[in-house]
């Protein structure tokens, strides 16, 4: 890493919840007040103007950097004024809704990118998000709730957070808040109750949040191991003792194609790699490494998948090879890969031409390796 120039990077703290109304913003603002009392310079950098009234009450008394107002298609939208926050330069900036997509015409496309700018300038950022916005959980969430979340935050952004706080409330209390009209306007309540706020959805998302928070806490424990040689008793779970052994070092290869399932495969591979503390690599194989002969749509799909891989901080490789499956397996053996992630072979003829029947071939050829045929986490109807 190059020697840091300018200010030391600010810390990131994420308040993680499982739905609108669980109290993430409220908790963040309450902690903000407590920090101010301790003499910390705190400023609200973005605050949802349509928030619940008890949350609005909570923002009173905190310094607020005015939002930027933008006109888009005849309506006025409010965004965080990142430049103004930089100019104000608080110790801690509170930024609501990390997963938000900025209105076209903003300097940066995503709010999490604005947050990176603040962190780079040495400002500590506290922010809020729901578990369903974590990129690698996107398919999980879709499978469980039937809702495809469009606004996602890459996992590495969350990983750089120094601190994750789970904001928990029972689904019962949340539903009461919803019915009292404390979360959405009355006309929205009925729709919410039969959609996202269904009992089974809330329970599943809540469990996901708790497990994710536990995972994030676990990941951050290695910091203590590196930071000190103190003999601290640790509980007997695999984390410290076993993974340090080189013989257990896993290397994951993700085989991507033009098929849409590649995005899901990348998310799944990234997630498993994180849990195994391993570095994944994504591989695309085509007859020629240039893939100039591919139809434009396919080429675009592949480029999109490669970009997505880099976005998830997955190393990428492109190889030429007449026999795709053979090339994948050879690459795996040459690079000490221990696990190959492949998508299930699609069943439709068109899809089969695009994605090939590589799963079968790779399973057959790589009988000395672990091959994970990743499920197409399509939606199971559960109403």
């Amino acid at each position: 890493m190059p020697a840091p120039e300018g200010p030391q990077r600010g810390n990131l703290k994420v308040y993680l919840g499982y739905a609108a109304g669980v109290g993430k913003t409220f908790q963040m603002l309450a902690d903000g007040h407590a920090a101010v009392e301790r003499g910390v310079d705190v400023a609200v950098a973005y605050f949802e103007p349509h928030a619940r009234h008890d949350t609005i009450a909570q923002v009173q008394g905190l310094d607020h950097v005015p939002h930027r107002k933008l006109d888009y298609r005849g309506r006025t939208f409010e965004e965080m004024n990142t430049d103004a926050v930089l100019a104000r330069g608080p110790r801690v900036a509170l930024v609501d809704e990390l997963a938000h997509t900025n209105i076209p015409g903003s300097t940066r496309a995503k709010r999490w990118e604005d947050v990176q700018t603040l962190l780079d300038a040495g400002i500590e950022v506290w922010t809020t998000m729901n578990v369903q916005h974590i990129e690698s959980l996107n398919d999980h969430v879709w499978q469980v709730t039937g809702i495809r979340v469009r606004e996602t935050v890459p996992d590495w952004v969350i990983r750089q957070a120094a601190e994750i706080v789970a904001v928990d409330v029972t689904p019962e209390a949340l539903l009461n808040r919803l019915k009292r009209g404390a979360i959405y306007k009355p006309e929205m309540v009925e729709k919410a109750l039969t959609g996202f706020f269904k009992g089974s959805n809330l329970g599943a998302l809540r469990e996901m949040t708790l497990r994710q928070a536990a995972h994030e806490v676990d990941l951050r424990q290695s910091v203590y191991d590196e930071a000190s040689d103190l003999q601290v008793p640790t509980i007997s779970k695999s984390s410290s003792a076993e993974t340090s052994g080189e013989q257990l070092k896993e290397r994951i290869l993700i085989h991507i194609t033009a098929d849409a399932s590649s995005a899901m495969l990348l998310r799944r591979g990234r997630r498993v790699a994180d849990f195994l503390h391993s570095t994944p690599v994504a591989l695309f194989v085509h007859k020629t490494p240039e893939f100039a002969d591919l139809p434009a749509a396919e080429r675009e799909a592949i480029e999109k998948h490669l970009r997505f891989a880099r976005n998830l901080r997955i190393e990428t490789a492109i190889l030429g090879g007449q026999d795709v499956s053979r090339t994948v397996v050879d690459f795996a053996r040459r690079n000490q890969v221990s696990q190959i992630f492949v998508a299930r072979s699609p069943s439709g003829l068109r899809e089969r031409l695009l994605g090939g029947r590589y799963a079968e071939d790779i399973v057959r050829m790589a009988d000395d390796l672990q091959v994970i045929v990743v499920a197409n986490r399509s939606r199971r109807h559960n109403s």
Partner: protein
């Protein structure tokens, strides 16, 4: 395949249902605020909820409070009615009779894990709570992870301190609601100040707090998962997939079963998931095979797996059905042996499983 066995609810679930239904009859709900250490703010969250519910018109009393009250708690307490506890020389005991006579909708009890002095009607405070629930009174109460019996050893390993006052984990699993009060470890340390030393835990470090925090989050997730299971069954909904990782290792006499079980165990620990091991018996097996399977199943039990032996003509179909029933997220299976005569008829079993186990990852192991 013994389908009837699979759809039968687990004893734990039945117990939970019975306990929950017993309380429901009287409309009483038990809500627990769980924290990973003193100083996370359980009492504040709980009393603040009591205050809000009181303001919305619910009839709430406080039957037990911590002896040392910080200022913010004192302010909340002023708004709430108290049923004074019985004063004994060295402890406060809930006046169960007085609370039942007062008959409020909701009763606040802080903390839950307390031993009553000898001669009390119940030896533990959680038994007082059960009595109040049976009398139709809902309970708000707080529990520190340190006091959950099943975590006692782990916590002792982390903190070096033991506690005599514990409540069984089943009590938590039977609660109608559980909420985790989570704060960053540094904030907890900062708030604690000398509080830890006063309860007998000294030089606790951030790393140790972090481990307690992880345990508390996972315990809450477990309770939520159990509630979800109950909900899903009560509403006749298809199981929700993919919330918790559940691994299914399929063993055969000639598979590399020990390595697969070992990997399954590691994955289970890493993902804090569940581990199942199945063997499908079909056709005749030689004595050698039987001995091998016995060894593998023994290893599976030692790895903490739930072990199941199924009987089926079509092992692949049986595995797929079992996996679906148990909400499995990942199946472990060995690479097929080459040119088995059966495969010529039915196709490569691994590939058949991949096709049959829709929605589930299939991890194929080297032989």
């Amino acid at each position: 395949m013994r389908v009837s066995d699979l759809s039968r609810p687990s004893p734990e679930r039945l117990l939970r249902q019975v306990q929950a239904e017993e309380n429901k009859r009287w409309g009483a709900r038990l809500k627990i605020f769980l924290g990973y250490a003193p100083g996370v703010g359980k009492s504040f969250r709980m009393l603040d909820e009591a205050r809000r519910r009181h303001e919305r018109g619910e009839d709430i009393v406080v039957a037990a409070i911590q002896s040392q009250q910080p200022e913010d708690l004192q302010a909340l307490m002023q708004k709430l009615e108290v049923v004074p506890p019985l004063q004994t020389p060295d402890a406060q005991v809930i006046d169960v009779d007085a609370v039942v006579r007062r008959s409020p909708q909701v009763c606040v009890i802080d903390p839950l894990a307390t031993k009553n002095p000898p001669g009390s009607r119940n030896s533990h405070r959680w038994q007082d709570v059960q009595e109040l629930l049976r009398n139709g009174i809902s309970i708000l109460t707080s529990v520190n992870l340190l006091h959950v019996e099943e975590y006692r050893e782990k916590v002792q390993a982390i903190t070096g301190k033991d506690t005599a006052e514990t409540i069984p984990k089943s009590f938590l699993l039977a609660a109608d609601d559980i909420v985790i009060v989570d704060v960053p470890t540094d904030l907890c340390l900062w708030r604690l100040g000398e509080k830890l030393t006063s309860i007998g835990i000294s030089n606790i470090q951030e790393r140790q707090l972090s481990e307690l925090r992880e345990l508390a989050l996972l315990l809450t997730a477990e309770v939520v998962d159990a509630q979800l299971e109950t909900y899903v069954h009560a509403h006749g909904i298809e199981p929700v997939f993919g919330t918790q990782e559940r691994f299914l290792v399929c063993i055969t006499p000639d598979s590399n079963a020990l390595a697969m079980i070992e990997s399954g165990k590691r994955n289970k620990e890493r993902f804090q998931g569940e581990l199942h091991v199945v063997y499908v018996r079909h056709g005749d097996r030689s004595d050698d095979d039987t001995a091998a399977i016995e060894t593998y199943l023994k290893a599976a039990r030692e790895a903490g797996a739930t072990v199941e032996v199924l009987e089926a003509d079509d092992p692949i179909a049986a595995i797929a059905e079992f996996a679906s029933e148990k909400r499995i997220t990942q199946i472990f299976i060995g690479h097929s042996s080459q040119e088995h005569w059966r495969d010529l008829f039915f196709g490569d079993p691994v590939l058949r499983l991949v096709r049959a186990a829709e929605g589930i990852d299939v991890r194929v192991f080297p032989r």
